[in-house]
Each structure stands twice: as structure tokens, then as C-alpha cells.
Amino acid sequence: MAETTHQAFDPLATGSHARQLRAKFTVYALLVFFALLYLSPLVIIFMNSFRPLEEIVREGFISAPNALSAQYWVEAWSSFCIGGNCEGVSRYFSNTLIMTIPATILSTAFGVVNGYALSKWRFKYDTWVFGLITLGVFLPAQMTLLPWAFVLGKIGLSNTIGGLVLVHTVQGISFTTLFCRNYFVAVPDDLIKAARIDGAGFWRIFRRIMLPLSPPILIVCVIWQFTGIWNEFLFGTVFTSGSNQPITSAIVAFSGSGTGERHYNVEAASVIFAALPPLCVYVLGGKYFVRGLTSGAVK
């Protein structure tokens, strides 16, 4: 894995002292430049969520703050008017939360069992089953919008968070199955054979042997699904409206409307509320996030 080992060889520690210094300086200068570029939006938005509106309007987003206040955060959370609804982003935040958590748990649970069944129990046409499930990863969402809208309407889940949970779970299973299957393929088949000779069946092998080996891939799935579903916009905006929308749609609703007075500071705080949970998950599980990228994205 990228973050653990490396050849015991330091290319920068060779050659003359002056060359080493020059090379080191170049490397760190470039790193600092890019780091500032990458961090600037975060810093700017964070700073402006504490600044008074008239100051932002007068000086723009990029200037040193004079007065700071946390009241815009409170406003953004509880009383900001979005699309005529003045409950703040808290409502949309909780919409997203109660959409994301069940969808994450369900898709991960299905994915782990599917991955285990597909990688360790071969049967006729199993590669076709796997192929079909993984095609779901590639299928563009646009192809499914109309059928989903119809299906959700038929089963009475139009404009509900439950409907979004269903959509995200079904779509997410493709990802989690892919991740878990690729992970479990590396578990030696002999373990399964030994367990079968020991007398264990499908579920006992899963519970006693596979599941104890699964925490890394479970974490990958949870992080990946959580950030993916939390950040999703298209489904939320198509299948729900008004106060049932997830937070991404709410942000577009207020920041996209060109009319009326802009509340940049409150908007900035709202945007932070939308960005914070996946960001926390990322910082906490960054190592696994990368692993999810490398294992899932390529295969």
C-alpha cells in the first residue's frame, strides 16, 4: 500500500550538497504552492462564515476579516430561509443524514455478503452475475431517472427520503459488491475448504472466518458510500422537492437563485455544514479512503 512502505532509497540524498539543497528547496516550494492552492477555498469559506455581510459585500471574499462573529452559523443552522422555508439548513442536513445512514448500512451489508458469495462460492454463470452487478457502477444515472421516477411513484415513495434510500441502496450495492468481491478474492480459498471440511456451512464460514477478516473493506465501503451518498445531488433534486430535499439541493436552491439579497456569510456557513460530515469522515479514515480509490476505481 502506498502509505506504508517504500524502497530504502532517497533520490534527494545523492549528489553534491548544493544539488541536494537545491532539489529539496524546489520540491518543498512546489508542495507549498500547491497546498496553498488546494487549501485556499477551505480557508476562504471558513473565514467568511464569520464575517459580517456588509464587510463581504464591500471587500469581497478574499480580504482580511475585521470583525468576527459566530452568529451566522447559528442563523445558517436554524433560521436561514431556503426556498421560502425558514428553518435553516438543519432540516436539509437531517434529511441527508437520515438518507445517508440507512443507505450506507444497507448497501455495505449487502455488498459484503454478495462479495463473499461471489468470490468464494463458485457456481454456473457466476461471472455473468458479477458482470451484471458491476455494470451498475458504470451506468450513467441519466439512464435511470425516468424509470426510477416511475417506480418510486408506483410504490408511493415519490418525494420521500425513503425513496432516496432505496435508490442509493440499489445503486450502492454495485459499488460495495465490487469492492468486497475484489477484497475477498485475495483471501485464500484453502481457508474456505478447510472450514468446509471442518463442517462449517455458508453462514458459519461468513460469520466466523470472513467477517473477522473484513474490517478493512467494511471501513472502505462505509466511507465510500457515506461520502458518495452524502454528496449526491442529481437523485435528490429529481426525486424530491421542497423541504424533503437533501442538503446539496438546498445549497443549489439558495446559491443558484440570482434574485434577492445574498447572505454570503450565512451561505458560507451553510456550505460548511454540507461539507463537514464527509470531510470529517475523510480525515478520520483517509487511509481507507485511498484504499477504496485504488481497489474500486481501477478494477
Binding site: 471574499f61 451484471l132 441519466q142 425516468l146 440499489v170 454528496n231 445531488f233 485504488t294
Partner: protein
């Protein structure tokens, strides 16, 4: 775990020959009901997922495909209507512009992300201190939604609130930075923001690739007298070319599916300057009530994806097979 190894199906091929294909077994004697149930457990477990995947992948696709050749307008009308909506779609200026935008955006976005990602990966590969800090900084945009990304960068790029305003306030009154409201330049704003969002992804994968390169190779090249930039250009990067292909395919897929970023950043404007196919699909389906044409546009997105993905899948399978053969 390198991506190469993660993607190598040779283990899987080996497994399948050693596998237990129980349902194919011929039964002279009748096993008990419980034994037969146990035998079918994997299939039963997979059934709900399989049904959902079938529904989702096959039925939904066929459905949308059918709608695209139906007489649907505001509401679905399943009567066959021919390919007129495809013709109409390609006659509409908005769609043609969006497809052109997709090509330009896709090309610049992929090349830019690969370039920045490679640069960052090489920098981090120089045994720098606080490696995980740098990596975290470059990768965090990926954890943030396109909506948040687009919103924030719009504020930064907008002349009234962003960089231009800051430069003016600093005393440079003639400073002019209004790409986001300029028809000719707005797409580059989208490209820049896209690269900001995705280059960390490219970096992570390329870095993993760099770490999988045999260190002796670099030592040998150094002893041969090659400079570090030359070693990377001629020795290290060429050995990890499959990773570049993989990253390219994934990024192209992102590019083709791009929707939220443009919505939040420019809403496709000014005019139609930054419109992308996914936006057209949404508008046709849910704003203008032309769902047949919207479905046709969705099918065109699928076609674009297939053009990228199908050759890649064939190519990886071919390579895996070849590798399997050389390894006996």
C-alpha cells in the same frame, strides 16, 4: 496492494478451475432437502441483488431506450415514434454545444488532472517529510461534493466577490479576472475547478504506482548517470503506464457524467457556454417536458461512456489472459 495486483484476475482464473461447481453435479442418490437448500444458499443470497441489478441495469436501460424512440412528451407514451427525437436532438444548438464542451472539457480535465496528479505524486515520492499531511491536503477535495466545490469556486471566480475584487481592493484597479462571466473563458473555469477536485485522485493512484516500481531500477538508472527528471520520464513513468490508462478511463467517466459541478459553478452559463450533456438531459426531462428527447440525450451519454469503457474492459481482459498464459 498495488492497483495492478488488485486488478489482476489471474488469481480468480485459478480459483475457478479449482472451484466447486456443485449445482452441475449429477446426483445418482437424492440428498436431503436441507442439504439441497444448503447447496443453493449462495444463489439465494445473491438473488435479491441480482434481481435489483437486473432491474436497474437491464430493465431501466431498455425502458429509457424505448422512451427515446417513443412518442412521449411531458408524460410517457409508449407508442413507437421512431428516431426523430435523436435527429431533433442533434439539430439543437444547445446539444451540439454541450457535446463539444464535453470533448473540450473532458480532454483538458483529464490531461490537466493527470499532469498535476503526476507532478504531485513525484513530489511526494521524494521522501518528503510529513508525507501524509501533504497527501491529505491534495486529496481532500475529493471528499467534498461537487455542489460545495462549485459554490465556493464560483464565489472566488466571480468578479464581484472573488479574485478580481481582491486585486482591485489591493490597489490594482485595472485588474480584470472575469472568466466565469465570459462566454469564451467560462469553460476553462470549469476545467480548473474539475482539476482541483480530481488531481488528488490521480495523485493517489499514480503514487501507489510509483511505490510499486522496483527501487533497484532507479538505482541502476542513477548509476547509469541519468538525472532524476530523466529517470522519471524515461524509466519510472513508462513502467507504470497501465495506471495512467486506468486513471484516464476513470476520469473520462467522471467527465462524461459531470453535472453537479457545472450546475453549482456556472449553471451551464453564461448562455450555453458551459452546458454539458447531463444538464441538457435534466432540462429536457424535467424542465421542458420533452422526455423522449431527454431519454435520447441520456442514451447518447451512455454511448459516450461505452466508447470509453468497452474498449478498456476488452483490453484489460485481453491483458489478463495474456498474463495468465505467460505465467502458465
Amino acid at each position: 496492494m498495488t492497483i495492478l495486483r488488485a486488478g489482476s484476475p489471474s488469481a480468480g482464473a485459478e480459483l475457478s478451475t479449482n472451484s466447486n461447481k456443485k449445482p452441475m453435479m449429477q446426483d445418482p442418490s437424492q440428498p436431503s432437502l436441507a442439504a439441497r437448500l444448503a447447496r443453493w444458499t449462495p444463489q439465494m443470497v445473491l438473488f435479491p441483488t441480482l434481481a435489483a441489478a437486473f432491474m436497474y441495469v437491464v430493465v431501466f436501460s431498455a425502458w429509457t431506450l424505448w422512451i427515446s424512440v417513443s412518442q412521449s412528451t411531458l408524460l410517457p407514451n409508449m407508442t413507437y415514434g421512431g428516431f426523430g427525437e435523436y435527429a431533433a436532438l442533434w439539430k439543437s444548438k444547445r446539444w451540439v454545444v454541450s457535446y463539444q464542451n464535453l470533448f473540450l472539457f473532458g480532454a483538458l480535465y483529464v490531461l490537466g488532472s493527470l499532469f498535476v496528479g503526476t507532478l504531485l505524486a513525484i513530489l511526494i515520492d521524494q521522501r518528503v517529510r510529513f508525507e501524509s499531511v501533504w497527501r491529505t491536503i491534495f486529496l481532500y477535495p475529493l471528499a467534498i461534493s461537487f455542489i460545495v466545490t462549485g459554490t465556493v469556486w464560483r464565489w472566488i471566480f466571480h468578479p464581484q466577490t472573488g479574485v478580481e475584487r481582491a486585486l482591485n481592493d489591493l490597489g490594482w484597479l485595472s485588474a480584470n479576472f472575469d472568466w466565469i462571466t465570459d462566454r469564451d473563458m467560462a469553460l476553462y473555469v470549469v476545467v480548473f475547478t474539475g482539476i482541483w477536485h480530481a488531481s488528488g485522485f490521480a495523485m493517489a493512484l499514480i503514487l501507489a504506482g510509483l511505490r510499486s516500481v522496483d527501487g533497484d531500477l532507479i538505482k541502476a538508472a542513477q548509476i547509469d548517470g541519468a538525472s532524476m527528471p530523466r529517470i522519471y520520464r524515461k524509466v519510472v513513468l513508462p513502467t507504470i503506464w497501465p495506471i495512467f490508462i486506468a486513471v484516464t478511463v476513470v476520469l473520462l467517466q467522471f467527465a462524461i457524467k459531470t453535472y453537479d459541478l457545472v450546475v453549482a459553478l456556472t449553471q451551464g452559463g453564461p448562455g450555453v457556454a458551459t452546458t454539458v450533456p447531463a444538464i441538457v438531459v435534466y432540462d429536457l426531462m424535467f424542465q421542458r417536458g420533452q422526455i423522449a428527447q431527454g431519454a435520447a440525450a441520456a442514451v447518447m451519454i451512455l454511448v459516450a461512456l461505452a466508447i470509453v469503457i468497452v474498449p478498456y474492459i476488452i483490453w484489460t481482459n485481453w491483458r489478463a489472459k495474456k498474463e495468465g498464459q505467460t505465467h502458465g
